[in-house]
């Protein structure tokens, strides 16, 4: 255990300061929970109201892209978890490698997502005048698909930014005293993963086979 945590200005004790970052990040995650809760409410309404036509729209998603991305993101969560624990233990080398792996998996996710978008676009799955399916609940499904996946991708990109920041801290000096920063970063990264885990059955498993 690295004990030499730097006490910042408002805090008097290390114990309080240690809990501050997880507590603050978790409060922010509660915010995120309601943020995505809003769009999930739209999904629940559209699926309940749209019935079969909604599922007909959902059938068009490509489960291979979706499953591959779920796997990639889960694995990035694994590397992130190891990185965070290694930082706490002071194993900076391992942490560094795992952070790079996390960034790699995150980028891989975005690349796969890009290919999936290309396929969706080529199949005219964007609601509008050239939409492949009937206007109506099927179009609502695709409205949800685009909005939520883009929002998620933005979250992931921000995640890449904060992980990158950890690597930058590492480059400038010692990562070990910044264990709480690593913890906060990891919490955020895992949340992005959880959102995707919940999206997976909503986007890729409806109306199969």
């Amino acid at each position: 255990m690295s004990s030499d945590i730097i006490i910042h200005e408002p805090f008097e004790t290390a114990a309080r300061q240690k809990v501050a970052v997880p507590f603050g990040v978790w409060s922010f995650l509660a915010t995120e929970c309601l943020f995505f809760g809003g769009i999930f409410l739209f999904y629940a309404y559209a699926r309940w109201h749209g019935g079969e036509a909604f599922s007909a729209g959902a059938k068009e998603t490509d489960i291979w892209f979706g499953s591959a991305n779920t796997f990639i993101l889960m694995t990035s969560s694994l590397t992130m978890a190891i990185a965070e624990r290694a930082t706490k233990e002071g194993l900076v080398r391992l942490a560094r490698w795992m952070l790079w792996a996390t960034i790699g998996f995150g980028l891989a996710f975005l690349v796969v997502k890009g290919f999936e978008y290309r396929k969706d676009i080529s199949e005219h799955l964007i609601p509008g005048p050239h939409f492949k399916l009937e206007q109506g609940p099927a179009a609502q499904f695709w409205a949800f698909y685009w909005t939520v996946t883009v929002t998620h991708a933005i979250h992931l990109t921000i995640g890449l930014g904060v992980v990158g920041r950890l690597l930058w801290i590492d480059r400038r000096g010692d990562l070990a005293p910044h264990a709480t920063t690593a913890e906060g970063t990891a919490l955020y990264w895992h949340l992005v993963d959880i959102v995707w885990v919940i999206l997976y059955p909503l986007l890729y498993l409806v109306g199969r086979p």
């Binding site: 929970c33 499953s67 694994l78 895992h190 059955p201 199969r208 086979p209």
Partner: protein
């Protein structure tokens, strides 16, 4: 790296990751089985289980301080208000 560290750093997360992969396989398979009931519910339950694994172990909520757990819980409870009252309208029109 001590064996203790290895267990804590590598094996424990790996086990969770393995669990996640198994659940992923399960949910995808179940969705494609013909003639099985309550597909949406099963798929959501598995998603919830995966989420729980990540929250409890990767995010270490299991070992977190009480106030941190409270913060985590509050988000879910409040989101349930949103769903509960909105559907109190949708379902009774």
């Amino acid at each position: 790296m001590t064996p203790e560290q290895r267990r804590h750093l590598i094996y424990a997360p790996l086990r969770i990751w393995l669990g996640l992969c198994i659940l992923l396989g399960l949910t995808a398979t179940y969705a494609y089985l013909p003639h099985v009931p309550i597909k949406p519910i099963i798929s959501l339950l598995i998603a919830a289980a995966k989420g729980a694994l990540i929250v409890l172990f990767f995010m270490q909520l299991r070992k977190a301080e009480a106030i941190v757990r409270l913060a985590a819980l509050v988000g879910v409870i409040w989101a349930s208000f949103l769903f509960l009252f909105s559907f109190a309208d949708f379902l009774t029109r």
